[in-house]
């Protein structure tokens, strides 16, 4: 798939509400309060962190292309989708990313899978020495750990794993192209995997196109692996890949300190972090934690009036809301938006 189409789709959800780079931050999975709010408000969670290493120059190319083709326009450094853009966005096939759940960990899963399959591929032929495709220490240690207790020298076992993999790929309903990419990135005894560039040449696409297909395919694969309990092998490989807490590690610490009775200012001092960072943590909690005590920060009346103002104006832009509620701080407004409108409805 084309990154420009993904970006257009995302912009059609945000239409001018957010800055030029808001989309880039989501795609990269930036863990700032603002981005975490954006994915909630605009229902873009699934695109969160799909390309953690996306270079901004590449992102800019997509924006320029979209502007050049009049799918979007830029007014006062905000990006608005044109009628043509909306038509195009509506015609796009649905995206099946699930970035919010995997957050870049899907490539760790594939690294483990590829190393495990490579090991089985060699061991089934009695070859116990080969250059590992993965040099990352954590992945090597993990794969060694799961293979230690499995009959990896038994050719029946490798067949079993192969069947499980094929079944899961089919059941994931990913496209044939995605299956081809998955299988081609695996390497083993007598059959070498293909590089991104080679796959791009094979398929007559760009490397980025192929890579995006790969990531979406991986999300679909992981979704079925998590749903179906009979994928014994792949469930082991996927251990710990799904995000278990939606709060960042740092926000979790702030939550604990707050629960133990410290004020926001005290937490800032104790942790040696800026007040704005601690504020971001609270906004994160407001979005993700159903039991967030919003009433510690604002009155219920304030919250209700902000919600009705948002519905009335049809915007969540903070600057606009701030001018309506001058007595409230930006922090308070963000908390209300997060807690009350966090699910994007």
């Amino acid at each position: 798939m084309e990154l420009s189409s993904v970006v257009l789709f995302m912009l059609s959800k945000m239409n001018g509400e957010r800055s030029r780079n808001a989309c880039l931050h989501i795609i990269r999975g930036k863990r700032s309060g603002q981005t975490l709010q954006d994915v909630q408000y605009f229902d873009l969670k699934r695109f969160f962190c799909i390309l953690p290493k996306l270079e901004s120059a590449i992102y800019e190319e997509q924006i320029d292309w979209l502007i050049g083709n009049r799918y979007i326009t830029e007014v006062e450094s905000r990006l608005y989708v044109t009628d043509d853009g909306y038509k195009r966005a509506k015609a796009l096939p649905p995206y099946h990313f699930n970035g919010w759940e995997y957050r870049g960990n899907e490539t760790v899963f594939f690294g483990r899978l590829a190393l495990a399959i490579q090991t089985l591929s060699y061991f089934k032929d009695g070859v116990t020495s080969f250059m590992p495709i993965q040099t990352e220490r954590d992945i090597q240690v993990f794969v060694k750990g799961i293979l230690r207790n499995l009959p990896i020298e038994d050719s029946q076992f490798s067949k079993q794993v192969g069947c499980e993999l094929k079944l899961a790929l089919n059941q994931s309903e990913m496209s044939d192209m995605q299956k081809q990419i998955m299988a081609s990135r695996l390497t083993g005894h007598g059959i070498t995997g293909r590089t991104w560039e080679q796959l791009a040449t094979d398929m007559g696409r760009t490397s980025l196109f192929v890579y995006l297909e790969f990531i979406e395919g991986l999300h679909r694969l992981l979704d079925v692996v998590h749903q179906v309990s009979t994928y014994h092998f792949m469930r082991k490989v996927a251990e710990g890949i799904q995000t278990s807490t939606y709060l960042t590690e740092s926000a979790l610490q702030t939550r604990q300190l707050y629960a133990s009775g410290l004020s926001a200012e005290e937490i800032s001092a104790v942790r040696g972090l800026k007040q704005s960072t601690i504020d971001d943590h609270f906004v994160e909690m407001a979005i993700n934690d159903e039991a967030f005590p919003l009433h510690h920060f604002v009155t219920l009346e304030q919250a209700d009036s902000v919600v009705s103002k948002v519905n009335e104006l049809g915007t969540r832009r903070l600057r606009v809301l701030k001018s309506e509620f001058e007595e409230m701080s930006y922090f308070q407004l963000r908390l209300i938006l997060g807690a009350k409108l966090g699910d994007g409805t």
């Binding site: 089934k124 495709i133 993965q134 081609s184 990135r185 390497t187 005894h189 590089t195």
Partner: protein, 479 residues
């Protein structure tokens, strides 16, 4: 059979030593400090592995490149030696702690120079019963070498008192480097075993042309002559560009450089070793740890910065002993381009001044280096000098280094413009005598048609079969 020959056969399965190996091993067993200069691919690691089996204690191997270290350690494990451990920065804290506590269980201990400097590691090593210390890639200790590693200088200091013999291993070293190795490792009248750098099966060719003609020359070369081959280029960008051009013409080519992600690099290496890719367009990142014996050609599109690196790169061809060819494409402007790159890589007085001022202003060394525009390597070198001498001396030292780099370049150019046999010229520069009488020597001696290089039939490149996705999985897992 002698005892050594017995061990050689029992432990390694060889009937005979390669040239130089036996003398190095005997010298080590006699407890003498030894410097062994053996060309790459001639069994350097055997020189310490074999004596280790005859010595009571452990062997410590200091190795500069983590990747190389891991490669050697895992290759030993594969061959059945399980008492091997690699201490490097890849280890987690727990792993390191565990390994250090049971270090005495290992016969072969690989360690990176940075690790060696950690007090805990150093103290632990002092308690051990070491029988031999090996310094691999020992030319890194020399400030005149092309990859000077300041950490290496401290090896000599650590093991200054009662210590086992030191074996220094390197592929290329001239007189200056040999002297540096001996001094900095505090060696006691070392035995120097030097094998000739000459590779009789290698043909040297220098082609002078315009820069703009190089691509076309390479295209024709790839079309008409045999691989497998490596084309060394100056930059990552050029590696990608050239690989694309050649791929579009239908040749089997891949690019390799440090900018590619790790999996892709591993895949390209594997494809190349298996013959699925015939040519590699690479920066100098390609080569270390690649075990491929049948490379027939190495082409340099750019001018290497030193003869030592040139020798190492062309030395990857023809490991199987069959004829192989090294071609260097030279254009007049290459001289100044290379000079510019070299000086750009080297820190100058202004940058060092900037760097030290920033640090005095309270910035961290890392930040200061970035602001002063120092590369990581440059920072490492400067830090070392600053810890050793006053600023004025550092400036003087840098200027000296600059001059040395220039000397290296002039040496390289003297080979390019040589009117005598290229082989003889190169060997001269490393202090070796050589009388030439090979038919396939070099472009100065005259070559005529290099028939053996011509493609006779359509190249038998093992093209990757086009499998469907489920067939691929079947093949991978034996279904």
């Amino acid at each position: 059979m002698t005892e050594l020959a017995n061990v050689l056969y029992e432990k390694f399965g060889y009937r005979e030593f390669r040239p130089g190996q036996e003398r190095v091993i005997r010298s080590v067993l006699e407890g003498k400090d030894t410097i062994a200069i053996l060309p790459t691919g001639t069994g350097k690691s055997l020189c310490y592995q074999l004596p280790s089996y005859l010595l009571p204690g452990s062997t410590l191997i200091v190795s500069p490149l983590v990747a190389l270290m891991e490669d050697q350690a895992s290759s030993m494990r594969r061959k059945g030696e399980k008492r091997v451990v690699a201490l490097n920065s890849f280890l987690s804290y727990q792993e390191k702690k565990r390994i250090l506590s049971q270090l005495q269980l290992y016969k072969f201990i690989f360690v990176s120079p940075e690790m060696l400097l950690q007090e805990k590691v150093e103290n632990r090593l002092r308690q051990l019963d070491l029988s031999l210390i090996v310094v691999d890639e020992a030319h890194c200790i020399s400030q005149w070498g092309f990859d000077f590693r300041p950490d290496y200088l401290r090896i000599g200091e650590i093991f200054n008192r009662a210590r086992p013999p030191i074996l220094a291993l390197t592929a290329t070293a001239d007189q200056q480097v040999i002297q540096d190795i001996s001094i900095y490792l505090h060696m006691k009248q070392p035995i120097v075993e030097k094998q000739s750098l000459d590779r009789p099966n290698l043909t040297y060719v220098i082609e002078k042309m315009n820069s703009s003609d190089k691509t076309k020359w390479i295209e024709e070369r790839v079309e008409q002559t045999i691989g497998p081959g490596i084309i060394y280029v100056a930059s990552r960008k050029r590696a990608d560009q050239l690989a694309t051009i050649l791929t579009e013409k239908g040749y089997s080519v891949a690019a390799y450089h440090a900018g590619k992600e790790q999996e892709d690099r591993a895949l390209i290496q594997e494809q190349y070793i298996r013959g699925e890719v015939e040519w590699i367009c690479a920066t100098n990142a390609f080569g270390m740890g690649i075990h491929k014996d049948d490379i027939r050609q190495v082409i340099h599109e750019h001018l290497p910065h030193t003869i030592a690196s040139y020798i190492q790169e062309v030395g990857r061809a023809g490991r199987d002993g069959k004829l192989a060819c090294a071609v260097l494409l030279y254009a007049q402007e290459d001289e100044n381009i290379t000079r510019f790159i070299i000086h750009n890589d080297m820190p100058d007085r202004f940058e060092v001044e900037h760097y030290t001022e920033r640090m005095q202003a309270g910035l961290s060394p890392a930040e200061s280096a970035v602001l002063a525009g120092l590369s990581e390597t440059a920072k490492r070198v400067i830090d070392f000098y600053l810890s050793q001498m006053p600023l004025e001396k550092v400036y003087a030292r840098i200027e000296e280094l600059q001059r040395n780099k220039e000397m290296d370049l002039l040496q390289m150019l003297s080979v390019i413009h040589s009117e005598i046999c290229i082989r003889k010229k190169i060997l001269d520069l490393f202090g070796e005598e050589h009388e030439t009488n090979l038919d396939t020597c070099c472009s100065v001696c005259g070559l005529g048609e290099i028939d053996w290089l011509r493609k006779t039939k359509e190249a038998e490149v093992q093209r990757t079969m086009t499998y469907s996705w489920d067939e691929r999985i079947d093949v991978l897992l034996g279904i």
